[in-house]
Every structure is written in structure tokens, then in C-alpha cells.
Amino acid sequence: MESSKESHSSHAHAEGEHHTLPFNVYLSVFATLIFLTIITVWVAQFNFGAFNGLVAMGIATLKAALVGMYFMHLKYDNKLYSVVLVGSVGFLILFWFFTYFDFITRISESSTL
């Protein structure tokens, strides 16, 4: 059947051939991930007060980004996939934000007094 690519191929630069990363990239990403895991555990001994969670989440996000970019090939793939990933996380953060906003202001702003 006749088929033209005008619309589908507009954003699929890699169609027909797949991007492959060099073997070493996988290994070094893995090494970095392990290193970051050690950092996570090490850093948990210190008390940064309110920043404890932030630091832990920061490192976790770094790790997640590495997995996403290299293991899941986001860095070389169609950008649409990154949009899907980042978009869904974005909506999640907003879901948390609005609910949290209610949680922290509920006592102070809805006083029975």
C-alpha cells in the first residue's frame, strides 16, 4: 500500500535506524549511580535540618536523570518522550503543591476563633 511519510516522520529523526550508545557509557553511568548511592547514605548521617529531605531528593533526582537519559535513552530519543516524563512529574508536583497548600494553611487560616 502506498504510504507517504510527510506527517509521521516530521519528528522521528531516527526512524529506521536505532541509536546505540557505546558500551562504556552504560558502565560509567552505572558506576556513577553506585557512587551517588554511597553519597546518599553517607550524607544521611549529617543533619541539615530542614534541608535533609531536599538534599536526599536532589541526589535521587540526579540519579533518576541519569537512568532516564542514558538507560532509557531519553537524551537521544524523540523529545516527545521527555515531554511526557517531565510533564507527568510536573502535574504530580502541582497535585502535591495544591494539597500541601491546604494542609499548611488549614489550621492557621481556618481558625475556629
Binding site: 481556618s110 481558625s111 475556629t112 476563633l113
Partner: protein, 340 residues
């Protein structure tokens, strides 16, 4: 034909457009300001509706298809119009939004020196506790012209306290206290509804608010605390009739959600599991405090444990007793009771 339908509907809407027609009585100042916001909303909506639907109907008939190959202009849009009909609604929306939060702020800002009443919602009724120790059920009174604050709680499920005439409503949430305030300006009886679904008798979870002149209110308080001086059986009758019991039971022997009360005392009760017992003090006590233990034959296990105090229990039991003896001596008493 269609035009006729549309226009008659139009009339219906127009006639009903008077903001104060269908809103309940305006029992507070706040309810007046809410009604004016409501009026503004109705008028702006009506204007938009008339423009829009009027335009639609007009176009529909004006540009009715004449021939099968009518040609139509190729209009793609118009930015100025697009702007206009997003901007104007936007402005209207912002006006009502700001107006709305101004009112809402008044509604939620509790007055400092208000007369406080503790409210408990339970399945299915409302209890009111006054600072003086007066306790009522299903009915409460406040003085006119005084800011009143309700502190509300529930032990089991969500309820919601709604006084239509005051346009105020607040959910009663287990685990937190919520509050409401109002300043009633006209004496009279006002309806209270439960507006958060709470099970079988949600629609019977009503209460009456009595707004009274200060003097009457004082009397009411005294009267209600005097209940303690009434004869036991009389107090029992009050508890049953003013409480929630009558939402499920009849004073007569007619069945409602639960069995009727007439002739209960001393009779032999048969239960769903085949056992039976005589209705004595302990049976009645158990039926009220632990209703699930013995289920009367032919009924469902729908009664919730009623938390009556020891003295209230005594009074209720005494009432059943008295009812039975008056039944023997004079059949008319129970008839009288039924009518009350």
C-alpha cells in the same frame, strides 16, 4: 414550533429571574449580601444567555438553508471578536470572584465575643451543648441580634450543618473542629439540614433553630434545664420525642424503621436468631446501648448505639413502664400520647 418552545422556556427563566423570589427568607445581614451577589450573577448570566442564545436562534432562522448548493463565505475568524468574548467574561468572572471572597471572608471570620454553642453531629441527629450545661437534641435556641458561634464536631462520619435562611453551611468533620457563625435578626423557627451524605437517615437528620427575644431565650434556657425536675417518666417522654428516637420509632405500636413503642414494656420479644426475652429494664437498657446484640425479628440491624447518660436511660425506662401501666388503667392515655 421550535421558536415557541424556546420562547416559552425563556419566559420561564425570566419569570424566575428575581433573585429574592426563590431564595429562602433572609434571616441575617449576610444572607442579604449573598442574595445581591446572586442577583448580579443571575442578571449577567441572563444577559450573556440572551445574547448568545438569541444570536443562535436568530442566525439559525435567518440563515436557514434555501437551496442544496447555497454557498457560504469562508470566514476563518476574527481576532478582535475572539478577544472581546474572552475578555468580557473574564472581567465578569473576576468581579464575581472578588465579590465572592469578600463575602466569604465575612462568613468565615468568627466574631470575637460570640455566644458559643457546641454542636455534635451523629448518625442521625444534632446535639447542642450550652455553656450553662443545658443540653438539647434536635432543637436549639439562640437570642436574636447576638452573634452566635457554633463549634462543631462529629465522632463517626461527615455531616454538614446548613441553615438555608442564613445561607451558611459547614461540614462537620471527625477529627477536627469546624465552626460557623451567624447573627440572626428576626425571631422565629428556622430549619437546619444535614447536607453531607451520612447514611440511611441522612434526610431525617434535621434540627430546628429557635431565634428568640432575649427574655424568651432566658426562659428557654431555664425551662430546658428544669427538665431535670420533671417526673422521671415525663423526662423520658421528652428524651424520646425530642431526640432522634422518633425518627425511627413511633410512640404508638406502628412500625417505622424500628418497632413502635406502645405495649413494649413487659412483653415477650422475639429475635431474629430465634431466641426471645422479656422487655424489662435490662433488655431496654441493652437495646439502647448495644442495639446490635438482640435484633428484633422482622427488623434490620439499623439502630446505632445511642449514647444516653445513666439518668436519661432511667428516665426512658421509666417512661416505658409508665406507658404500660397507664395502658392498663386507661386506654385513652396511649391514644393521647400518639397524638402528641
Amino acid at each position: 414550533m421550535l421558536g415557541f418552545i424556546f420562547s416559552s422556556l425563556f419566559n420561564l427563566i425570566f419569570v424566575n429571574a428575581n433573585a429574592s423570589t426563590y431564595m429562602p427568607f433572609q434571616g441575617t445581614e449576610l444572607s442579604e449580601s449573598i442574595d445581591s451577589l446572586y442577583g448580579f450573577l443571575i442578571i449577567t448570566s441572563l444577559i450573556s444567555f440572551v445574547l448568545l442564545i438569541g444570536g443562535m436562534i436568530w442566525f439559525a432562522f435567518k440563515y436557514k438553508r434555501r437551496t442544496d448548493n447555497d454557498s457560504t463565505p469562508n470566514i476563518h475568524g476574527n481576532t478582535a471578536l475572539e478577544f472581546l468574548w474572552s475578555f468580557i467574561p473574564f472581567v465578569i468572572f473576576m468581579i464575581v470572584f472578588v465579590w465572592g471572597i469578600i463575602i466569604h471572608k465575612d462568613m468565615r471570620n468568627m466574631p470575637k465575643d460570640a455566644f458559643e454553642i457546641q454542636v455534635t453531629g451523629y448518625q442521625w441527629g444534632w446535639k447542642f451543648d450550652y455553656k450553662s450545661g443545658v443540653q438539647t437534641n434536635g432543637e436549639f435556641a439562640v437570642p436574636v441580634g447576638v452573634p452566635v458561634k457554633l463549634i462543631m464536631k462529629s465522632d463517626e462520619v461527615l455531616h454538614s450543618f446548613f441553615i438555608p435562611a442564613f445561607r451558611i453551611k459547614q461540614d462537620v468533620v471527625p477529627g477536627i473542629y469546624t465552626s460557623l457563625w451567624f447573627n440572626a435578626r428576626t425571631p422565629g423557627d428556622y430549619q437546619v439540614f444535614c447536607t453531607e451524605y451520612c447514611g440511611t437517615s441522612h434526610s431525617n437528620m434535621l434540627a430546628t433553630l429557635k431565634v428568640m427575644a432575649p427574655n424568651d431565650f432566658e426562659n428557654w434556657l431555664i425551662e430546658n434545664s428544669k427538665v431535670k425536675d420533671l417526673p422521671l417518666a415525663e423526662r423520658g417522654r421528652l428524651i424520646i420525642e425530642k431526640g432522634t428516637c422518633v425518627s425511627c420509632h413511633n410512640i404508638s405500636n406502628e412500625r417505622k424503621i424500628g418497632p413502635g413503642f406502645a405495649g413494649l414494656w413487659g412483653s415477650n420479644r422475639e429475635f431474629a436468631d430465634g431466641s426471645s426475652a422479656v422487655a424489662d429494664e435490662n433488655y431496654i437498657r441493652e437495646s439502647i446501648l448495644y442495639p446490635a446484640k438482640k435484633i428484633v425479628k422482622g427488623y434490620a440491624n439499623q439502630m446505632n448505639a445511642q449514647n444516653l447518660s445513666e439518668s436519661e436511660l432511667q428516665a426512658v425506662i421509666e417512661y416505658f413502664k409508665a406507658q404500660a401501666s397507664s395502658n392498663e388503667s386507661n386506654k385513652d392515655t396511649s391514644m393521647n400520647l400518639r397524638e402528641q
